[in-house]
């Protein structure tokens, strides 16, 4: 574990809005090791989401370097970035982003289409992940027939289905009630215990306390980066 999973060096993302350049992320250098559980905090507009989008290879930096699993992402084509998103990163979104009118099973199987797996293999793997997340009875349900917590668990199953190194969750509990939020955080802690690197973007301090390390953004720079002192453990289900 000498090499960090993720390392940024003077990472910058600029936006030009109305002729003025805004530094959404301004010279951020940090690294995240394998197996860490990191919470990224900050007010809206602090640059935390922009940072997450860049480390998720959804957005490209204006300058600076980003090493992901030892690879400089600047050197990669859009197809290669797509492969990294597919193979190494799992995304969990605030609004779940499930495909409507599509069963839980088919939703979870989507990344495997792009991984090039055949139909039977896709279904078998998706089914296994859904069962592992306690949704074995809901395989054929469409999102409209699932509760918010269930939908987010389907989304987590989808993020995990390619066995990625890292899970990136953008306000994963933002649309959920307190109890369901705790359930989700407990799932994340369990996954982290199994070795998956977790990065959770949140503006809720309580949620951040489930992480082991807290990074706080303000105006595009990191103003705080420290271990969480009194870490919470969600009740094991």
């Amino acid at each position: 574990m000498t090499q960090p999973l993720l390392k940024t060096h003077e990472l910058v993302k600029d936006y030009v809005i109305g002729g003025e350049t805004v530094h959404a992320v301004n010279n951020v250098s940090l690294s995240i090791a394998r197996g860490e559980f990191v919470a990224i905090m900050g007010a809206s507009g602090s640059g935390k989401s922009t940072f997450m989008n860049m480390i998720g290879c959804l957005d490209v930096p204006t300058s600076g370097t980003l090493l992901l699993d030892g690879t400089d992402t600047k050197l990669l084509s859009s197809d290669e970035l797509a492969d990294i998103r597919n193979q190494k990163i799992g995304f969990v979104f605030q609004q779940f982003n499930l495909l409507a009118r599509t069963s839980a099973l088919d939703n979870v199987a989507v990344p495997l289409i792009y991984a090039g797996l055949g139909y039977a293999e896709r279904r078998a793997r998706a089914k296994a992940k859904l069962e592992a997340l306690g949704l074995g009875e809901r395989l054929e349900n469409t999102p409209a027939k699932l509760s918010g917590g269930q939908q987010q668990r389907v989304a987590i199953a989808r993020a995990l289905v390619t066995d990625p190194l890292m899970l990136l969750a953008d306000e994963p509990t933002g649309a959920l009630d307190t109890q369901t939020s705790l359930d989700i955080m407990s799932i994340f802690q369990g996954l982290n215990d199994d070795g998956i690197t977790m990065v959770v973007v949140t503006h809720e301090p309580d949620i951040a306390e489930y992480a082991a390390r807290r990074i706080v953004f303000r105006d595009g720079i990191v103003i705080e980066d420290e271990a969480v002192k009194s870490r919470r453990r969600a009740a094991v289900q």
């Binding site: 998720g56 959804l58 859009s78 995304f91 495909l99 989507v110 792009y114 090039g116």
Partner: protein
């Protein structure tokens, strides 16, 4: 990677995604498909009608007979309009001279034609009377299906006999038995000696709506304003042994008639000689132009259908920008997104194309059975139309699909 080994599964997935998307906006999909359907329908039908016209013309020319020259007493102005003032003459003696002196001729059939009224007790029809000789049967391949055709003695005795077409027979002898019966042609009684073998109709022209009488009888009994002298004829068919003889014979007929009428060097011939080959070529060109024009007009509706596809695909891409962003986040490459939308457009077009083809087959069938107009749709036309609609999908779905694939993942994901 394994995905290259599995292209069919890939397309299968895209078809499944497309079907879900198309079902989601069912009404819109149906309307878009309708546009393609109408386009494909009209193009296929245009091709079929054009083919039908060609078939009809070929049949029509075949009913004239083959390896035949037609001589009419009209000045040969090339393609210019006929000038009645210079109307030439043609006589039975000319016909005999052609028969004797032009090599390769197997029969010469002089004719006078006249519109007549044919009547039995209580029934009356107007039809075309052809005053002919037995040679007409040889050059034009005409036989009697019942009774007999004209004979030389019918002509020499100016017998009041007629061989009648099926259409005429059915109208004035609805009981069925015609041969041996008497009918009146312009009030002159004639005996029906035969029924012409049916030649059907093409392009609305009924080949069985005519009667044939001896040329001498027509001249004497049925007044013909068209013939000037006692020996004048309106046209003659000259049958040749083969195509080679026909080509040479056309020139021979011209020089023979020029000599007979003492046409000065450089003057226009007072007669025109056309061969069946020339007629076939000329009408073939006309029907080809006719078909091209039809197809061109029909193509406009296919173009409109294609534009409808493009329009709806652009809307679909805009509506599903977030889905595109999500798929990219989950690992879709640009080509995956592009293919997804291409397949969606192609599915729309192929469904529309299949429906258009079905409709065209029905319409062609209706044409054939109701209007008696052949509109053949071959396998080639059918395959072409399906391929064509797929191409329409790829061409008009191409731009929206490429636009979708060029979206930035994060901007697509953020869109509402």
């Amino acid at each position: 990677m394994s995905r290259f080994l599995n292209p069919i599964a890939d397309w299968g997935v895209n078809v499944a995604i497309a079907m879900t998307a198309l079902r989601t906006n069912l009404m819109r999909s149906i309307l878009t498909t309708l546009g393609v359907m109408i386009g494909v329908f009209s193009v296929i039908l245009a091709v079929a009608v054009g083919n039908g016209a060609q078939v009809s013309v070929t049949q029509q020319i075949a009913t004239l007979g083959s390896n035949m020259a037609i001589v009419v007493p009209e000045p040969d102005n090339g393609d210019g309009p006929p000038r009645p003032a210079e109307r030439g003459r043609l006589t039975e003696r000319d016909a005999k001279a052609v028969e004797r002196q032009v090599p390769g001729v197997n029969a010469v059939a002089p004719q006078i034609r006249n519109g007549v009224q044919v009547a039995t007790a209580g029934r009356s029809v107007s039809t075309l009377a052809i005053g002919a000789t037995p040679a007409y049967g040889i050059v034009s391949n005409i036989t009697a299906s019942e009774g007999r055709f004209l004979t030389d003695s019918d002509v020499s005795s100016a017998a009041r006999v007629a061989v009648i077409g099926e259409t005429v027979a059915n109208r004035i002898f609805p009981e069925g038995i015609a041969v041996g019966q008497t009918m009146r042609i312009n009030r002159v009684p004639f005996v029906v000696i035969g029924i012409l073998e049916g030649k059907g109709s093409n392009l609305g022209n009924d080949n069985d709506d005519q009667i044939i009488v001896p040329i001498s009888t027509l001249r004497q009994r049925l007044s013909t304003a068209a013939a000037q002298g006692p020996d004048d004829i309106q046209l003659m068919f000259v049958g040749f042994d083969d195509e080679e003889a026909l080509t040479a014979g056309q020139k021979e007929i011209k020089s023979l008639l020029r000599a007979r009428y003492r046409v000065a060097k450089g003057s226009v011939n007072p007669f025109t000689v056309r061969t069946t080959t020339e007629i076939a070529e000329a009408t073939g060109t006309v029907t080809q132009i006719f078909q091209a024009v039809l197809v061109a007009i029909a193509s406009i509706s296919l173009l409109v259908g294609g534009i409808g596809i493009m329009n709806i695909m652009l809307v679909s891409v805009t509506e599903r920008t977030r889905e595109i962003g999500l798929r990219m986040a989950l690992g879709a490459k640009r080509r995956d997104i592009r293919n997804q939308f291409l397949v969606e457009a192609a599915v729309l077009c192929i469904i529309g194309g299949a429906m258009g083809l079905t409709l065209a087959l029905l319409a062609a069938f209706a044409f054939q059975s109701i209007a008696d107009f052949p509109a053949p749709i071959g396998w080639d036309t059918a395959l072409m139309s399906v391929a064509f609609s797929a191409v329409i999908g790829l061409v008009f779905g191409g731009y929206p699909a490429i636009r979708a694939s060029r979206l930035s993942p994060i901007e697509a994901l953020r869109s509402e």
